[in-house]
Symmetry: C2
Subunit: 212 residues, 2 copies
DNA sequence: CTATAATTCACTACATTTAGTGATTATGAT
DNA sequence: ATCATAATCACTAAATGTAGTGAATTATAG
């Protein structure tokens, strides 16, 4: 059996080295490279044979979501696995849409890591139990509760950001050169679209969605 | 020279194993244990000789801050080092007040990790450059800008959480069986303590500080 | 035990947000 | 070109939040 060529991408150097040490003594695994950002990874892939890319989600410059997409665009045969400390349904969603092959939490142990790597090498996807659970839960919630996944307009997002920045309706109106009434309308629309109750909800939503 | 007895505490199993692998082949280092939460660590310390404890900041149950404090209370001779992905001035502050001996970012490399470990073993503290910078920056900002470093009371935090959860003043009063006036006072105190303007600011603060 | 801080309550006044209803004018996509 | 959506504006009324001032009671730590 051929060795599995693995590339690890993570800006946390210590984690990188740790993971490398973890994979160093495995028979069927060949650690092709350990890189610390997405840009390096893409350059590396141009001239190296890689079967599986293991990457962190949160990286400066280019995050794991973007890197995964770019890899899949250019090298659809390469299997990608994301490592993260959290399991956020939205993130998982995006990644799955971009054909990610695995999602593992960083509290996974060595055996799970290896199981995941072998699965990917065999052409199977691997998602940790916790991730699968979160994912199905969120799917479930989406069906039962609110079917209207509300796409916010540019203006609404703009206003939402200003709300998060502690601006009052009046201040927002001044900054955007529009009437307070208009800002008010957007505010109301935001609340009703998102099914929220008040400003606190708006701010919470914005921060959790990474809008502000 | 005696070997340095090291205990690692981190709930991220993969990181734990990786770090263990990293320290496994070092001459002067003896990895005494790898545990995954603070409770286990405290039990372990009762019956084992440990020179240096390396711990994660964010752990379920008992976080690194609390664990560090408890260790220092009971075993002041043990050197403690915190590992974290971020360098938050507030956190660093608390830790330093509790006599932490080191603070390393998780993107540190193997050589820096070893340097830190050796420093601690020699009785010197070790803080990574980035951490030192953030810390002095925050000291600087504190002098120039706002002198009030605000420790929120338990009640204030409780109320802040309820605000984040979209409760109105009246609803909070009902849930806590107190007068609306009281809730109002807490609200005002929160705003002035934190130098914020309105509910949006409170929610933003709470989420960014991980309070809610 | 005794300062200090936390928690509680009260009253007033004003600012801001929320809710309801309705309507006109861009803008973009088919 | 037209249909849908986005963006704009208007008015009213009620609810909620913000600000100022003051004070009593209860914990907490030194």
């Amino acid at each position: 059996m051929e060795k599995i060529n693995i590339l690890i991408v993570d800006d946390h150097h210590m984690f990188l080295e740790g993971l490398a040490a973890l994979l160093a003594n495995i028979q069927d695994v060949h650690l092709t490279g350990t890189l610390k950002n997405g840009k390096e990874a893409l350059e590396f892939l141009e001239s190296n044979t890689v079967d599986v890319v293991i990457m962190d989600i949160s990286m400066p410059g280019m995050d794991g979501i973007e890197l995964n997409k770019l890899i899949k665009d250019s090298y659809p045969h390469i299997k990608t696995m994301v490592l993260s400390t959290h399991s956020d349904p939205k993130t998982i969603n995006k990644l799955i849409q971009d054909d990610v092959n695995g999602y593992l939490l960083k509290n996974a142990d060595k055996s799970e890591l290896l199981e995941a790597v072998y699965s990917l090498a065999k052409g199977q996807n691997y998602f940790s139990e916790e991730v699968k659970e979160k994912y199905t839960n969120s799917m479930f919630a989406r069906q039962s509760k609110s079917n209207e996944e509300p796409p916010l307009s540019r203006r609404e997002i703009e206003i939402l950001k200003l709300i998060v920045a502690q601006n009052t309706t009046q201040e927002i109106a001044e900054k955007l050169f529009i009437s307070q009434h208009t800002v008010n309308s957007h505010r109301k629309n935001l609340l009703s679209k998102l099914g929220l109750k008040n400003t606190a909800g708006l701010v919470k939503y914005a921060l959790e969605e990474g809008i502000a």
